[in-house]
Symmetry: D2
Subunit: 282 residues, 4 copies
Amino acid sequence: MKATFRLVIDCPDQVGLVAAVSQFLAALNASIIEASHHTDVHLKRFFMRHEIDADSLNISQDEFTQTFAELAKKYEMTWSFSSSQAKPRVALLASKEAHCLNDVLHRWHTGELNCDIPCIISNHDAMRKYAQWHQIPFYLIDFTNKIEAFRQIRELLIEHQIDLTVLARFMQIIPDEMCAELTGKLINIHHSFLPSFVGAKPYQQAYDRGVKLIGATCHYVTSVLDEGPIIEQEVMRISHSDSSEDMVRKGKRCEINALANGLRYHLEDRVIICQNKTIVFN
Amino acid sequence: MKATFRLVIDCPDQVGLVAAVSQFLAALNASIIEASHHTDVHLKRFFMRHEIDADSLNISQDEFTQTFAELAKKYEMTWSFSSSQAKPRVALLASKEAHCLNDVLHRWHTGELNCDIPCIISNHDAMRKYAQWHQIPFYLIDFTNKIEAFRQIRELLIEHQIDLTVLARFMQIIPDEMCAELTGKLINIHHSFLPSFVGAKPYQQAYDRGVKLIGATCHYVTSVLDEGPIIEQEVMRISHSDSSEDMVRKGKRCEINALANGLRYHLEDRVIICQNKTIVFN
Amino acid sequence: MKATFRLVIDCPDQVGLVAAVSQFLAALNASIIEASHHTDVHLKRFFMRHEIDADSLNISQDEFTQTFAELAKKYEMTWSFSSSQAKPRVALLASKEAHCLNDVLHRWHTGELNCDIPCIISNHDAMRKYAQWHQIPFYLIDFTNKIEAFRQIRELLIEHQIDLTVLARFMQIIPDEMCAELTGKLINIHHSFLPSFVGAKPYQQAYDRGVKLIGATCHYVTSVLDEGPIIEQEVMRISHSDSSEDMVRKGKRCEINALANGLRYHLEDRVIICQNKTIVFN
Amino acid sequence: MKATFRLVIDCPDQVGLVAAVSQFLAALNASIIEASHHTDVHLKRFFMRHEIDADSLNISQDEFTQTFAELAKKYEMTWSFSSSQAKPRVALLASKEAHCLNDVLHRWHTGELNCDIPCIISNHDAMRKYAQWHQIPFYLIDFTNKIEAFRQIRELLIEHQIDLTVLARFMQIIPDEMCAELTGKLINIHHSFLPSFVGAKPYQQAYDRGVKLIGATCHYVTSVLDEGPIIEQEVMRISHSDSSEDMVRKGKRCEINALANGLRYHLEDRVIICQNKTIVFN
């Protein structure tokens, strides 16, 4: 994989914006590999992502950051400029179901996910073996006292300098203050097609309602349960002959795929959160 | 199309049921073209549909009905035995959006839907031309007085001896007593993936929530809005770049396809309603 | 629908290209509604499409065209600058199957497709009624003499100043010289997932091979049968219980949707042909 | 999981067949959990699968087999009667790509696949760790001499009493005599939507052709490369912006899902091979 820089911009819309940015980039000899734009006409905001060949740039990442800051200020940009070689540090949390954990670990192991995984945290010892296979530190948290449990988790995230926390089928509700603290840095996979079937046992809810498709949703976590900005969704067809157990089994592939895509988009700086929605440049 | 009979059975589950029915059919020389079974293990109910080559049977439809009644009684069956040559009479109701109406009419016109369409009813004159193209009586109903409007619709359904009423994007809420009267004989297409986005302007709701897939649901109408038994659902992928107007345009194909499938399944006696769900032998 | 201009560019890739174009646009006060880029790293070519609010521009379309030509020359661009208000003139050709014709006509009738349809041409009189419903001139062509038939079709296309010819299930092979003459202006819908099942009776071929999915392909026509640049493809699941007749019926929705999308992409200048492939900015 | 028996029948079609079988089952008090039928009208053959609650049967599996043989003979049936508790012995063969191997192993590890996996065979040592994680014997085969390599593989299959051999991205062409020997017992996952892109590097072929969807096919292996009976296929949408490397990455989910489904169908006796096609009772 070629080293790249990713310039991600979110600012008020105005004529000349693209010209200013692309002139800036051209002056630095930036070879643009991928460029994506989006204008939200209701909010009058402009979103832009450039992926730039790192070798083409005639200044360093630090110099770029300093120089660009001026332009960014002029256009009131919220922005980031990151290198594909700086691997985000990702913590994985899981409870009993291992399919999402296994899939994320396998993709990471084979180099598909560009991140480090410094720790796996669970409230069930059954997840330990997955951590061991991949030689990743494993932390078993006792949830008898939930407040204490989350205090420990918070400490682990700080200790391991975690950039992104992934709830890979972690069946505990995250406290509001932790949601607030990790805004935009906490991803969940919910096993339904949101906003259908919020909360517990969504496959049973789906069975009871008699829907003909089931799904999964990868989203950022906010303090309102299953209501955060959606990154990715997957669905699949079922029929009257599927029991709720069949749905649990079949739905796993939706969960795995929605999480894998959502996670990759986040790690590649392809997601911009705007209010309660996302722009995903995929 | 070969003439067929459709034997549809819904009864308490017990050993010997299939044997009894298939023996009965074999004794009449019935050549079975298609057979489908389903057992609901929670409800301990059994559902069965046979499609039989009409020419193979050595007795008439009436004789079959009389003879089978005895067996049906023994096994406490709810059942029907219908001929593919008896065309159900279908009324189409639509408001302003013509895509579902146009699609159903085209499928009917080309012989794909096995039914008669004795009338099209609307609260907008814009639908008249579709009726005229197909030389079907058109009734424009004034909705200034809703009670009077539905009285007129009810009369039209009776007058035209309607077997099935299809709400092909009819944007008026059906009164409870009419829902009750037409139980299992009133089909709606709702432009969302239910139970998400019940009620008005579902595409706007979808836009506001930021979902990554939109859908449509074909369902039987009950007195609780958008909560009736689901027959068919369709979804398609969208992105942040789709406005709610884009969703309206793109979603039409979901609506068209879900309605077309749902309607065909109903007309071919493939749907059994069981509590608030459906068994669909497709 | 807001009036827009579409600037579509295809040229050798180089640093500064986007800057030059976006500076040019900013100087004319162009408000960019949609911008899409693609770099083909193997071919070292760059593709770009801008959709611009027509009202925002401070010069006329003609002036733009004249001024831009200089920039275009410098960067060796193949380019076009068109108005959303100039409706392309589309000829529809169909044989016996009406579903694609009906769908395109309905989308056109309801304003979804931004084009004029000056004529419908067929080798079967059964298509006449669709033309009549929409008050479009209909031409029945006798195919006893194929050379003469295509001579007549060619004349009709010239006479009606046709910009785009759509084979909406037209079951005659287009002569090589006509393919050449209409390069990039002749769209076909083939009822298989190409490159599977080229040529006649693709559903029968699919049945015989025992595939579990069927599909349809919308593509530009070239002199090699079913080998032209693909614009859009659709598939759907089938099973062993589907006869080839079932596939014919079910596959229609793939054909309709692939053609509808492909046609809209073309009419909105979203498709760039590059060798035997397409870039589709959708 | 409840213990069940699966009665699978393939025979000439005739009236009375279902009656005879269901009478036979009812006399043994068989409680039928799932029943599926299919008639091939062209071949005049009938296919049937019953899944029976093992506890409900009033005779043993052996007694059933002996008794049923008489009925089977009368109706010229090819048939099997197997227990869900007899785990088939599956050998996994893989080369360099681990995603299919990892997925199958995870499903097996979590009890989703009802089989034993006595050995993993590869021509690359990189697969060893997956075997080790799951404590399954691993055999590295040297392919310098292909004839000798396949002789060793054949011996391993015999030694481990293998019922089913799965090529989970095994990039060596199986010799004809081995294909013949393992007819109906050798499953492959091919990384294209067959019959498109047979043979080597299908993603590169897909890239070169410019298709808009990629896929994968799970099929039985016969001596003609990629031409055996298809069990399951999966597709996903791609665009002009996907390189062949992107397709390789994205397509993995199609491969994983098609193989997982195909393998499960086979293990649950849901697949009947009929000439070069399959009936899949799923």
